[in-house]
C-alpha cells in the first residue's frame, strides 16, 4: 500500500506535566488507552475531566472502572454527536494551558480533531490515540455527503448511490477521506472490493 502523505497520523496519549487542565474526550474503546496514559499521575488526574461516549450496553462494569480513574470529573454522553457539542463548548471556555486528549475510533478522531482545529486547537495542543473501530469517515466528492465507519472500497454512497473508490487522501478540515466514482470510465465494472481499514 502506498504511503500517502495526507493520511492523519494518530499518536499515543502522554499527559504533559506542564498542562494545567486536561480535557479527555473518548469512546469506550479508548478507555484502556486513557487508563494506561493517566496511571500513576495523581497530580494530573486531579486536574483531568473525562467526557465519555457510553453506548447502552456498557452499563454493567462501568462505574467501578470510571471511579478507579480518580479524575476530577467524569461526564457521560449517549452519542458522538452529543459529545461533540460538549467539546465545542469546552474548548470555547477553556484557558491556555489546557491540553486536549482524544481516544477512540478513526471516525470519532476525524470529527473531534476537525472540530478542535476549527476552534484553533491543533498541532501540539491536542493529543490523539487510535483505538477500536478503523472504519473511516468518507466524503463523496460528487454529492458531498458524509459516511461514517467505511471499511470497504468501493462503497456505495449513502446519499447519491454512486459506487465510490476511497482514495488515500484525507482532509483535516472535513475530517474525512475522499470517495470518487469507481466506474466512471467503465460503467458497471467495479474493482475488486478491498478492506481499507487494515
Amino acid at each position: 500500500m502506498p504511503v500517502v502523505k495526507s493520511r492523519p497520523v494518530w499518536g499515543r496519549l502522554a499527559p504533559s506535566p506542564f498542562a494545567r487542565r486536561h480535557l479527555v474526550f473518548c469512546e469506550v474503546a479508548g478507555l484502556g488507552a486513557v487508563e494506561r496514559a493517566f496511571a500513576g499521575t495523581d497530580s494530573i488526574r486531579q486536574r483531568t475531566s473525562l467526557n465519555l461516549i457510553v453506548p447502552p450496553d456498557f452499563a454493567p462494569a462501568r462505574s467501578e472502572r470510571l471511579d478507579a480513574l480518580g479524575f476530577e470529573a467524569v461526564h457521560e454522553f449517549p452519542s458522538v454527536e452529543t459529545v461533540l457539542v460538549r467539546l465545542r463548548v469546552s474548548l470555547s471556555q477553556a484557558a491556555m494551558g489546557t491540553l486536549l486528549y482524544l481516544a477512540g475510533g478513526e471516525a470519532f478522531l476525524d470529527q473531534a480533531t476537525c472540530l478542535a482545529e476549527a476552534c484553533g486547537v491543533a498541532g501540539d495542543g491536542v493529543q490523539t490515540e487510535h483505538c477500536g473501530s478503523t472504519g473511516r469517515r468518507v466524503q463523496c466528492v460528487h454529492c458531498k455527503g458524509m459516511m461514517a465507519d467505511v471499511t470497504m472500497s468501493p462503497v456505495v454512497c449513502d446519499h447519491c448511490g454512486l459506487h465510490l473508490t476511497v482514495r488515500d487522501h484525507y482532509s483535516r478540515r472535513l475530517g474525512a477521506f475522499q470517495g470518487v466514482c469507481a466506474d466512471a470510465e467503465a460503467p458497471g465494472v467495479l474493482p475488486e472490493p478491498t478492506r481499507i481499514d487494515a
Binding site: 502506498p2 504511503v3 500517502v4 502523505k5 495526507s6 493520511r7 482545529e117 498541532g123 466524503q139 466528492v141 460528487h142 458531498k144 454512486l162 482514495r167 488515500d168 487522501h169 484525507y170 482532509s171 483535516r172 478540515r173 472535513l174 475522499q178 470518487v180 466514482c181 466512471a184 470510465e185 467503465a186 460503467p187
Partner: protein, 346 residues
C-alpha cells in the same frame, strides 16, 4: 495591440480551438524527450515578446470564453470558490497584483486609476466599469478574490504561511486537472500533494516547500505541469468526474487529432506584501493533437515522452485508457530524427 477574443465553448459542443498564433505561443512543457518529476522551478522573468511568459499574467484569445465558462461552473457549484475568514488581507493583495499587472501590460483592454484608496477599474472586453475603495469589501459586488479572478484567466490558490508550512486557505478553482478545492481547502503543502506518486520519495516536495517558505516579494517564480484531457474541457473536476470520465473511453485512431488534448499548466507563485501569503496561479492551456503536430519537433518529442512515461505517472494522470491509441497516432509524426534541446519549436 488588441487581442481578437474568440467565441467558443469548453463543454457540450466543444468549439474551442487555437489560432495559428496561439499554437506558436503554446507553452510546450518538455525540454527533452523524456519526463520525470523534478523541482522545476525558475524565476518568473519576462519571456520573449508574444510568448505565454511575456507578461506575469497572460491574457490570450480565449479570455472572454474562459470567463464565461468560469461563470457557468460557479453557478452550478459555488464551492469552487472559497476563502477562510483569515484570508481577507491576502484577497486584497491578489486583487492589487492582478489589476496592476493587467492594466500595465494590456492597457488597451484594462485600466486602473488609483487615487489613494479610491480605485477605478475598467475591463473593456467584459464591459465592466467599477469604482471602489481598496480594502473596503462593501464597495465591491463580490469578495475581492472572486471579483478579480472572475476577470482573469487561470485558477488561483492563496496560501497562508504558518508553522513552517503553506496552507491552502483560499482559492478559486474551475479549470483544474482533477482535484478539488473544497476537499483540499485547509490542507498543507505536503498533505494536498499526498496523492502524487514517486515525487515524495525523491524529495521533490520537501525541497520545493523549503524554497517557497523563503520566497521573496518582487521575485516570483514559475513552473510548468502537464497532463492530457479528452475534449477541450476546462472543468475536469473530481466533483463531475462521473460525468466526464467516460470521455476517456471515446478515443479511436480516427479521432485522436481532435479529441486528445495536451493540457499544460503555467504555474506562478508570488509572495504577497500585506498578508505574507503566497498566491499560486494555475493557468491552463489546451492544444489538440492535430494542432500540436503542426510543430514537427513537438510531435516527435511528445510521442517519445508519452511512449516512455512511467506507468505510475500515466495512471495518476488518467492517461491509461487512451495512451496506446495516442502514442500510435503520434508515431506517424516521429521519423526518429533527433530533437534540439529546449522547449521551442524549430
Amino acid at each position: 495591440m488588441t487581442i481578437p477574443f474568440k467565441t467558443e465553448t469548453f463543454r457540450d459542443d466543444f468549439t474551442f480551438s487555437n489560432s495559428e498564433a496561439a499554437i506558436r505561443r503554446f507553452p510546450f512543457p518538455f525540454d527533452r524527450d523524456a519526463y520525470m518529476y523534478a523541482v522545476n522551478i525558475e524565476q518568473h522573468m519576462p519571456g520573449p515578446a508574444k510568448s505565454a511568459t511575456e507578461f506575469p499574467i497572460d491574457i490570450d484569445e480565449h479570455y472572454v470564453a474562459e470567463m464565461a465558462d468560469r461563470d457557468l461552473v460557479l453557478k452550478a457549484d459555488p464551492l469552487r470558490c472559497q476563502s477562510l475568514p483569515h484570508m481577507m488581507t491576502a484577497e486584497w493583495d491578489l486583487l492589487e497584483l492582478l489589476m496592476t499587472s493587467m492594466a500595465r501590460d494590456y492597457p488597451e483592454h484594462f485600466s486602473l486609476e488609483r487615487s489613494g484608496r479610491e480605485w477605478h477599474w475598467i475591463n473593456r472586453p467584459l464591459g465592466i466599469d467599477q469604482r471602489f475603495t481598496f480594502e473596503d469589501p462593501a464597495t465591491l459586488p463580490l469578495s475581492p478574490m472572486e471579483y478579480i479572478t472572475r476577470q482573469c484567466q487561470g485558477d488561483f490558490c492563496l496560501l497562508d504561511q504558518r508553522d513552517d508550512n503553506l496552507w491552502m486557505d483560499a482559492g478559486i478553482v474551475t479549470t483544474q486537472a482533477d482535484w478539488s478545492l473544497d476537499f483540499d481547502l485547509g490542507m498543507n503543502f505536503i498533505e494536498w500533494h499526498g496523492p502524487v506518486p514517486l515525487a515524495h520519495e525523491i524529495g521533490v516536495f520537501e525541497r520545493a516547500l523549503k524554497f517557497l517558505l523563503n520566497l521573496q516579494q518582487g521575485r516570483p517564480v514559475r513552473r510548468l505541469n502537464w497532463t492530457m484531457t479528452i475534449n477541450p474541457r476546462l472543468d475536469t473536476s473530481p466533483e463531475n468526474y462521473h460525468r466526464w470520465g467516460i470521455d476517456r473511453t471515446t478515443v479511436t485512431p480516427d479521432n485522436v487529432g481532435d479529441k486528445v488534448h495536451l493540457r499544460v499548466e503555467l504555474q506562478a507563485l508570488w509572495r504577497l506584501p500585506r498578508s505574507n501569503a503566497i498566491v499560486f496561479s494555475i493557468r491552463c492551456y489546451l492544444i489538440k493533437m492535430r494542432e500540436l503536430v503542426t510543430q514537427p519537433k513537438w510531435a516527435r518529442r511528445l510521442h517519445r515522452v508519452l511512449r516512455d512515461l512511467p506507468g505510475e505517472l500515466a495512471d495518476y494522470k488518467g492517461l491509461t485508457n487512451y495512451r496506446e491509441t495516442t502514442v500510435a497516432w503520434l508515431s506517424k509524426y516521429d521519423d526518429g530524427a533527433p530533437t534540439s534541446p529546449g522547449f521551442h519549436p524549430d
